[in-house]
């Protein structure tokens, strides 16, 4: 998902403390920053929430690419508002992860030097305006699927930021679907663009949920701690089941010849994405990994003087104020 393949840390804490902690989680109590928590819980959460935050921020880049090229002023305003929301999502999540004892600057540095990851999906390019439709519809759609259950996660600050995020997220998916609706009602060329965008984003969207459950080794601990609420395959199936009828409504074809309704299971059968591609992208070898990190590095470097000047200005104001008193 926005946090894929988060390694769950083994924990070597006092067994009685661990049992008491697990009992609180099982009872549905929220764990708050000052409460005792297993070292592994803290570490896993830092990794997971941090990765989620980075994904929101890096995720602005593929869409920002189209703000100045939007076809109408209204679409431009919609997209701008959506991308601004994503900045907000990143900030809510950074604040949540900072309560676990890691600083904002450390988090940024870990993203820039590759110690922390962001979702594989944002390493794909956005080549046409139809991609803005596909991204909102599929990428935000997949994100919602994962974020809604996380509103019930055991860590209080994380759960609260998820509540805010989920409130804002459905506009994102709808504006994307709206772009797609306009495209498929347009000229033949526009319809082809819409189909092409779906073709390119379908499998990367399925990859967002992370590897298949049989290869997903970190799930169990995270699920008992309630920092992962569903398995990867459960969410992926749910996404497919919801998305297929939407594609049909648009008159677009999902690029999967094996996609078909299974009467017995009550779900669609579908082809899994190419997991070797997924691992390549995660390793840094996707089409845009280098560009994405370079853009974040540039923003960090170019913004340094602003960060410093704001502090200097605040200090000057403060000392003038105390001198006047």
């Amino acid at each position: 998902m926005y946090a894929q393949m988060v390694k769950s840390e083994a924990t070597q804490d006092d067994p009685d403390m661990l049992a008491a902690f697990q009992a609180r989680v099982d009872a549905g109590e929220k764990i708050e920053p000052k409460d005792w928590m297993p070292a592994g819980y803290r570490k896993t959460l830092i990794r997971q929430i941090g990765q989620h935050a980075h994904s929101e921020i890096v995720g602005q880049l593929p869409e920002a690419n189209w703000i100045a090229r939007a076809p109408t002023l209204e679409r431009k305003a919609n997209l701008l508002a959506k991308v601004q929301d994503e900045a907000g999502h990143g900030l809510y999540l950074y604040c949540a992860v900072e309560t676990l004892g890691v600083s904002r600057d450390e988090l940024t540095e870990m993203l820039l030097d590759g110690r922390m990851k962001y979702s594989s999906i944002f390493n794909y390019p956005t080549l046409t305006w139809a991609d803005m439709g596909a991204v909102g519809w599929l990428v935000d759609g997949a994100a919602i699927m994962n974020q809604v259950p996380l509103q019930r996660t055991s860590y209080g600050p994380y759960a609260r930021s998820m509540v805010r995020i989920c409130k804002e997220e459905s506009f994102h998916q709808r504006q994307g679907f709206h772009v797609m609706m306009a495209m498929v009602k347009g000229s033949e060329a526009q319809k082809r663009m819409a189909q092409d965008a779906l073709n390119r984003f379908w499998y990367p969207a399925l990859m967002m949920f992370g590897p298949s459950d049989k290869d997903s080794v970190h799930s169990e601990q995270s699920m008992s701690w309630k920092i992962k609420m569903n398995t990867n395959d459960e969410l992926r199936q749910k996404f497919v089941d919801e998305t297929v009828p939407q594609a049909e409504y648009l008159g677009l074809t999902i690029p999967d010849e094996h996609m078909k309704w299974n009467e017995d299971t009550g779900h669609y059968d579908f082809t899994e994405p190419d997991w070797s591609e997924f691992f390549e992208v995660i390793q840094g070898n996707g089409p845009c990994n280098v560009d994405r990190i370079a853009a974040r590095q540039k923003a960090w470097d170019d913004g340094a003087w602003v960060r410093e000047a704001m502090v200097a200005h605040a200090e000057k104001k403060q000392s003038r104020k105390s001198a006047a008193e």
Binding site: K34, C95, E308, H313
Partner: protein, 94 residues
């Protein structure tokens, strides 16, 4: 590397007369900057008409270990709730 901006807690009052409510936190160089950022981060959809910010380091909080001594004494005082007192029906609404 430069100093990190301090952390601020943000409280917002909506239009319906409720108290200011904690909505989250953010980094800013000073109070004025924190209010500006809070406006962008926490009120993009008319969530409020008034913003309070306070530097996180200025907040004193009760600690989780005090949970027992602080809150347990309230447990056996059910008479603080109106439903504790049974009023006969013939008295009417009270």
């Amino acid at each position: 590397m430069s100093k990190e901006w301090p952390l601020w807690e943000v409280f917002i009052r909506g239009t319906h007369g409720m108290s200011h409510r904690h909505v989250g936190s953010l980094h800013a160089a000073d109070a004025e900057h924190a209010i500006r950022n809070a406006r962008d981060v926490y009120t993009r959809r008319n969530e409020g008409v008034s913003i309070w910010v306070v530097e996180t380091s200025q907040i004193a909080a009760s600690s989780p270990s005090e949970k027992g001594p602080l809150y347990d004494p309230a447990r056996d005082k059910a008479y603080r709730h109106p439903t504790f007192f049974h009023i006969p029906e013939e008295v009417g609404k009270m």
